[in-house]
Symmetry: none
Amino acid sequence: MDLSAGGYLVVYNVLSLGIASMLFTTIFLFFAKDRVLPKYRMAIMVSATVTGIAAYHYFRMFDNFIEVFGPEAVDGATYNVGYRYVDWFLTVPLLLVETIAVLALAAAVQRSLLVRLIPAAALMIGLGYPGDARLDLLYEGDASLWGLFSTIPFLYILYVLFVELGKSLERQSAPVQRRIKELRLLLLATWGVYPIAFIFNMGAVASEGGFIAREVGYSIADILAKCLFGLMIFSIARMKSAEDDAEFAKVENREHA
Amino acid sequence: MDLSAGGYLVVYNVLSLGIASMLFTTIFLFFAKDRVLPKYRMAIMVSATVTGIAAYHYFRMFDNFIEVFGPEAVDGATYNVGYRYVDWFLTVPLLLVETIAVLALAAAVQRSLLVRLIPAAALMIGLGYPGDARLDLLYEGDASLWGLFSTIPFLYILYVLFVELGKSLERQSAPVQRRIKELRLLLLATWGVYPIAFIFNMGAVASEGGFIAREVGYSIADILAKCLFGLMIFSIARMKSAEDDAEFAKVENREHA
């Protein structure tokens, strides 16, 4: 598969945007953790770790992309979609950890949510990879079957986040509940992009349009689902810190809820 | 388009100046945040993030420039003005956030200013790119039209900063008001350079003079609008910290207003 000059530039710039967004969200969040109460700092540090791992993978993908499609393309080099799956294998469970951690629920409730969410996330990523990498493990062109397998844990995660987690939201203040509902909507909207991008590139033969749509879709979804998501987690932690501690609210010029 | 030896050296050195300015303003501001009261630290961290993102892009632009025009120029490599637009897409909204954040206004006022400023900034950058990259999306040589489109949100941002923000300045002390007025003048003067640099390179055919004028114009404007601007934000935060807290003023040897 070849890329046109315009297609090359689009993917090139979107991967570079990915590096800049991930890298500086990471640095910002590691410094910003001191702007919330200690009990919320783990959630912020996990968020920073998620974008940090993603920054590393975007550097690799950017270099790999140039090696395959750039002006000095290396013969026999192939574009490795595995970077994305290794990234997600590490970052998606951590995203679920930061979401649960920022709520500061009782330890037993946290554990019960995470023992269900984390294996489901690992399964979702692991089952998607053979399809996206066109490994043809079961039969030729079996990508749609792997996509289907991967959708089952995906739906289970959404069920846990919307139904099970919903039950523990009642203990939060009204503004925090609103922000958490926005957070879940962001998660639903961005996670929904992944299967669509997957389907775009599922055709029997790799096509330029499918490749570009997949790379742009995955990258924009990643930036929203990791950077914007992490900043919203930070914002929830700031709100809850101000609610928990009037002195903090005063020192940080945060209005009391 | 070819570059003369002198033209090459000018752009090369100005891009390197960009790296040095952005990188060390970032590092300085991340450490300097502890020299203001906690409620102003978010503004300083956002300033540091702005120059950090710009440092990343200046490293990329410098390498890309050498790849295209250097002694070992790569066949088929092109100079990617997209780096600047991706940079501005991230940093211009953040510059507006740091400006609003340092004023420590009421949360409702902050929100009302930012929901108008940030979409306008994104629109301004997004509409400028097709012209500057000579994508000819509408017709051949349509750069001036995109420049015109981009000017509309640009003027709106200036209106909000000068008229709407002006109303909330009355609550600030006289020295802080003076410094904020200087800050707005710096913003007006540096942001005014971008359309001029854009016009320089708008000719039907890419010319050496137009290219050099654009790169030097964008780089100097960037350094003033991000590094000097960020340091002025820091200075406002120091003044306001000393005004808010006599103990801070004494410990930091800052005169009281």
